[in-house]
């Protein structure tokens, strides 16, 4: 083996190890940053290793691509606000998929269709996962950025259409493996993949986005791994497998947190038709509360739990939340944050927002950690969360969210819910918690209300 090849393989091996160690460092927040910096060094090594490959004979396009990519990537890394993180992550799945798909197309184009069946299988997986991730992620990004309506877009016979698309694409794929020289079928399969990606994400609503974003993460990883198979590169296979496993695991966790199966998320179009067998008695009354009274209760509370939801992200009120919590702590109260796994629009969304607002991470509690503590809590402050605190998930078998694990907010001594109005949340499901006698409703924009609470607590 020439020295050059040994060097290249050594960089790939080092990169693979550093990637795995980097991901492992994420199990401990205090080591995570250094671990990921090491993973970045691994990436640089792999790039350097690739650049000395003898196949590479000209560098102008490489330099141009690296420069342009850095120019676009830098602001996407440094200046995107934390509230925009879901769409930021979704669009990066698209970039990953574009790279994998185009490498696949280039490989196929250069081969002129003269390929072994094994190579064709790898290439087929590569462009199929790649192309459906491209349009799927684009749709997800547009929905998350609200450039497109976030509600599910459905039409009659949608599932039948989608299944037909899947079946036809699968058929084309099988045919291509048998006859790799059928160029039109190769490009036809990419076109079908693009259509499937779109039709897969269109019927999925905003509250289901955590599952979809995770699933697309997994697909982008599988496309990379297939690229590795196609060009015989182990570091690509390893990185792709890690990415695929991570996305898969996250989507399983997210589905579980909503008590729904994958297929139900993908084919269920949550939120479009919601009928609870038990409708709330009309005229049931709720208790509005003024900011002054709410502030008094918070100021004299011994134990407070804050439950943030997507509403907190929309109002960008995480900094005021932290200010309020500090005031309560200063007066001797104890404040914890309860984070539901699917609060927000992507896994871990709330944690990042609160960390950005300088909330120490040991104050943030997962659902299992904190659910036993609600009955000892004086006041729970719910900020723009709805379905994740809806007791119907425990009590009403007719509810679409029945069986979903929820935060047991209704077991606390008293609850203050911050909400814009009495409109039901995204999924359109009525929430009994709001009509509970111990619940008070504080209406208005979350940030404005919180700012008022802060100044009132200061005056107590």
């Amino acid at each position: 083996m020439p020295v050059r090849d040994i060097f290249i393989e050594a960089t790939y091996l080092a990169a693979s190890v550093m990637f795995i160690l980097g991901l492992r460092s994420l199990t401990r927040p205090e080591f995570a940053r250094r671990g990921m910096q090491q993973a970045a060094i691994g990436m640089v090594l792999a790039i350097v290793g690739t650049l000395v490959k003898h196949e590479i004979v000209e560098y102008q396009w490489i330099v141009a691509g690296l420069a342009l990519g850095t120019l676009i990537g830098y602001p996407l890394g440094m200046f995107v606000p934390m509230t925009a993180m879901p769409q930021r992550i979704a669009i990066s799945h698209m970039f990953g998929a574009v790279a994998a798909t185009l490498v696949g197309v280039a490989t196929y184009y250069n081969s002129g269709g003269v390929l072994g069946h094994g190579e064709m299988t790898a290439l087929g997986f590569e462009v199929m996962f790649g192309s459906l991730t491209i349009t799927g992620s684009l749709m997800a990004t547009l929905k998350l950025a609200e450039l497109m309506p976030g509600r599910p877009i459905t039409f009659r016979g949608q599932n039948a259409v989608n299944l037909t698309l899947f079946a036809v694409t699968f058929g084309i794929f099988i045919y291509l493996i048998a006859r790799p020289d059928q160029t039109m079928f190769f490009y036809g399969m990419i076109a079908m993949g693009l259509v499937i990606g779109m039709s897969m994400v269109l019927p999925i609503g905003g509250a289901d986005m955590p599952v979809v974003v995770s699933l697309l993460n997994s697909y982008a990883g599988l496309a990379s791994a297939a690229t590795g198979f196609a060009i015989g590169n182990n570091v690509l296979i390893i990185a792709g497998a890690l990415d695929g496993a991570s996305g898969f695991l996250l989507s399983v966790l997210m589905s579980k947190a909503m008590n729904r199966s994958f297929s139900n998320v993908l084919f269920g179009a949550f939120g479009s038709v919601v009928k609870s067998t038990r409708t709330l008695a009309t005229g049931q009354s709720y208790t509005p509360v003024s900011a002054e009274d709410a502030a008094l209760r918070l100021a004299y509370a011994g134990r407070v739990i804050i439950v943030p939801g997507y509403g907190m992200a929309v109002a960008q009120s995480q900094h005021v939340v932290r200010e309020l919590a500090e005031l309560i702590e200063h007066r001797g109260g104890d404040v914890k944050y309860a984070i539901h796994p699917v609060a927000g629009r992507m896994p871990g969304h709330m944690n990042v927002l609160l960390a950005e607002a300088d909330v120490p991470y040991d104050r943030l509690y997962d659902m299992e950690q904190i659910n036993g503590e609600f009955d000892k809590t004086d006041v729970v402050l719910v900020i723009g969360a709805n379905d994740v605190v809806n007791p119907a998930a425990r009590t009403d078998p007719g509810s679409p969210i029945y069986g979903m694990p929820i935060l047991n907010v209704d077991r606390a001594r008293s609850v203050i819910v911050m909400k814009r109005s009495m409109n039901p949340g995204f999924a359109g499901i009525e929430n009994e918690l709001f009509y509970d006698p111990k619940t008070s409703m504080l209406f208005g924009d979350a940030k404005a209300s919180l700012t008022k609470l802060v100044s009132e607590v200061k005056n107590v």
């Binding site: 693979s16 980097g22 991901l23 927040p29 995570a32 990921m36 993973a39 970045a40 990436m43 792999a46 790039i47 650049l51 490959k53 196949e55 590479i56 396009w61 490489i62 141009a64 691509g65 850095t70 890394g77 440094m78 930021r88 990066s92 970039f95 990953g96 790279a99 185009l102 490498v103 280039a106 490989t107 250069n110 094994g118 790898a122 995770s214 982008a220 990379s224 690229t227 198979f229 590169n233 182990n234 570091v235 690509l236 296979i237 792709g240 497998a241 890690l242 496993a245 991570s246 695991l249 996250l250 966790l253 992507m346 896994p347 871990g348 944690n351 120490p360 991470y361 104050r363 997962d366």
Partner: protein, 97 residues
Amino acid sequence: MIAFTELYVFVLAAFVGYQVITRVPPLLHTPLMSATNAISGISLVGSLVAAGAHETPVSTILGFIAVTSATINVVGGFLITDRMLKMFKRVPKPPTP
């Protein structure tokens, strides 16, 4: 015929990934996603060859676009992961008198 060594590598890597990632706390799930994104930018190793091998003009152009996309993920992905991880802090220990 698919090389079986590669299949072994894939399956074992997926297994290691699964084991490691189950232990990542929900607290860091967003950084985990951006981290795996950055790592998946490793498709650069394929893109660079396509852009620089001078096989056909088509593959060079496709390679150029692929290099650009993958670089966006590498640069943007590692930067944003670092930015997020930097924010996670513990409760400051009270100064001992």
